[in-house]
Symmetry: C2
Subunit: 439 residues, 2 copies
Amino acid sequence: MKNKVEPKTLTGFMELLPEKQILFNNMVDIIRSTYEKFGFLPIDTPIIESAEILLAKAGGETEKQIYRFEKGENDLALRFDLTVPLAKYVSINQNNITFPFRRYQIGKVYRGERPQKGRFREFYQCDIDIIGDGELNIINDAEIPSIIYNVFSRLGFSNFTIHFNNRKILNGLFEELELKSKTTDILRIIDKIEKIGKEAVINEIEKIGVDKEKIEKIIDFISITGNTDEKIEKLKYLNISNEEFNIGINELEDLVNYMRLFNVPDENFELDLTIARGLDYYTGTVYETFLNEYKQLGSVCSGGRYDNLAEFYTDKKFPGVGISIGLTRLFYQLNELGILTDGDKSIAKVLILPMDDNIEMCIKVANTLRENGINTEIYTNNNKKIKAKFKYADKLNIPYVIVIGEDEIKNNTVTLKNMETGEQESLSVQDVVLKIKKT
Amino acid sequence: MKNKVEPKTLTGFMELLPEKQILFNNMVDIIRSTYEKFGFLPIDTPIIESAEILLAKAGGETEKQIYRFEKGENDLALRFDLTVPLAKYVSINQNNITFPFRRYQIGKVYRGERPQKGRFREFYQCDIDIIGDGELNIINDAEIPSIIYNVFSRLGFSNFTIHFNNRKILNGLFEELELKSKTTDILRIIDKIEKIGKEAVINEIEKIGVDKEKIEKIIDFISITGNTDEKIEKLKYLNISNEEFNIGINELEDLVNYMRLFNVPDENFELDLTIARGLDYYTGTVYETFLNEYKQLGSVCSGGRYDNLAEFYTDKKFPGVGISIGLTRLFYQLNELGILTDGDKSIAKVLILPMDDNIEMCIKVANTLRENGINTEIYTNNNKKIKAKFKYADKLNIPYVIVIGEDEIKNNTVTLKNMETGEQESLSVQDVVLKIKKT
């Protein structure tokens, strides 16, 4: 016999105990059913792709983190997000899909990051995108916050804010200030303002050779205060004549109007002029979402509008707007915070305990419950003591236990115990069905 | 600008158009909810594991087919089934999980097979296993066919047969015939009887040096006819005194009794003495499932009882019983056969078509429908002609279209069109909700 191999799971890979997996799956189910409520279609692309496809647009960090390997003649890699596979999918299937193409995908992606607390090398992304064929109405940009609002409300949160901005405003401002070549650098610095503060931002921008007057204008801009409508009014009063800037303002106004029509409450959204989100991919609306009581989590749902989904594969223009939820990280953090106690924690609603070897009636009762859609388990370790049997139900958080022994068989009833209240009663099987279906 | 990369998906990887993905997901949902109805708990293990873990017990074909690669210092591999990860999971978590441990896992696995029609390198397995801590009641073996019966019934099949056997009978027979050292070879030959016929089986067994008299006994054994009860009776009359053989008969009898209690109809199961399933892993009950009208598909759901799930990782004995459905292959074959036309083919139940730029009422109606749990999409390509708008609903198989134009806004009604019947009526939004929720 071979020596034993020590069983272990790789660092940076989440593997949950069943009671936590149930909570994780509940979150997936809520996200999926919300995406479907808005009419998004499912797709499922391979986890392995040709490296050439995945790296067509990548560079820097992505290229370093990617899992890449050869199999036979093939240079392969594991997907590191769901956007590149979507671009590939739309390019390949452009004549067989219907635009606007609304798709969701929930799946695992891989990044060989340096392992650290709360960072995972395998993690779930839950993405939606709406892809147009050459054009895409701004209404779609406004529907996205409505989806975010629905998802996080149904996940049990109320105190969250969808921050949004429009890249055209930032781009237009920098064009106006003749700082276009420094856009990337300045945006990267502004992105850090929450972390490092205004003074540090000013210092850093100075260091890359922007003169004081222009820095002042940038700071005036990102310091605009007020509610969303007031901020938009103040943007107009900056009197910047740049065309892109003004298109950006119009898009923001449309976005806010439509968002309100989509019933996104004012307290759940906020124009945040400091958000840039990545550096050249997004071209219009951008979103970040914060749980206000847990701001340390960072944005829990981000995305935006882009002009050109598939430019590395095709000349055709596919503009789109989308968001992504990094569920594994979010789940990990919520669990660490101890706020994942709600929801169904068991799969079985009923555990049937045979009091002796006479299992016939137990099986029949299980059949009836299952036929009535009630998740049911029969405990089959007959040689365990009654206390151990109840402990099993307890450990699995099963809310109801049915006990069947001699008396029950004689009377053709069962004893139903509510594990939470301890209440116990003798009932017919039909009454058990009615009672449990009501809960 | 970089040159374009030709977008393509790797050979041997299934990537479906949305209308097929919906059908695939329906199947996953049915399998998952059936597994949960029987109280199985979800787990989700990483797709990447340490190669040492995955290959602890592998050899031969598996080792050749595995996707294995290095990342940094780590020798990694992609899982090729869900059983080895389960063995690892149970070994690691043995003190934190509750036995009998009933788990399901639905996920992708990887085998670098030679690409051929209907064979996939990435495919879904849908597994359940019941793992005991040192012991496991035979009732569990009988519950498995009841789960198979429920899954395939709910997938829309009625004409299918769960073939089962018990490895103890085969092992006992060979021990009795003093052919134990040839068991593996003989079983491999018997496994082919459906394909090559009885004569060829006799020839092949002869070639490995078994004498005529013993071959006759083997052939007598696998030729036993009759219904399940008759076959069991005939097994008894073979008068084989071997202990394992007789334990096997007892287990078969218990299995059949309990299966009937679990309401598995007699026409859906059959004792098949030729089934061996693998060569040394299984130790008791074994199952294969055939769709009788599509026998060419081979077994669509297989598994069995094993004594020792995790012997490569721990000295502790974890007996178990389980099955696996290779869903990607099954889906591919059913689709090729053209029998995948049933079920929901759309995600959205309603498409709202604005007749002009006045989209306000469209959004409000969408809000109401979505609040009432109706999957709804708003068509936002306003510059398309009315015909193109309806064509969109048609292509996505959306069953209802709501048209909102000037008249509808004035009267505060909507025009609801049933896309299947062509029927069209003017209704209040509340009546639309009632009507669609009834369907």
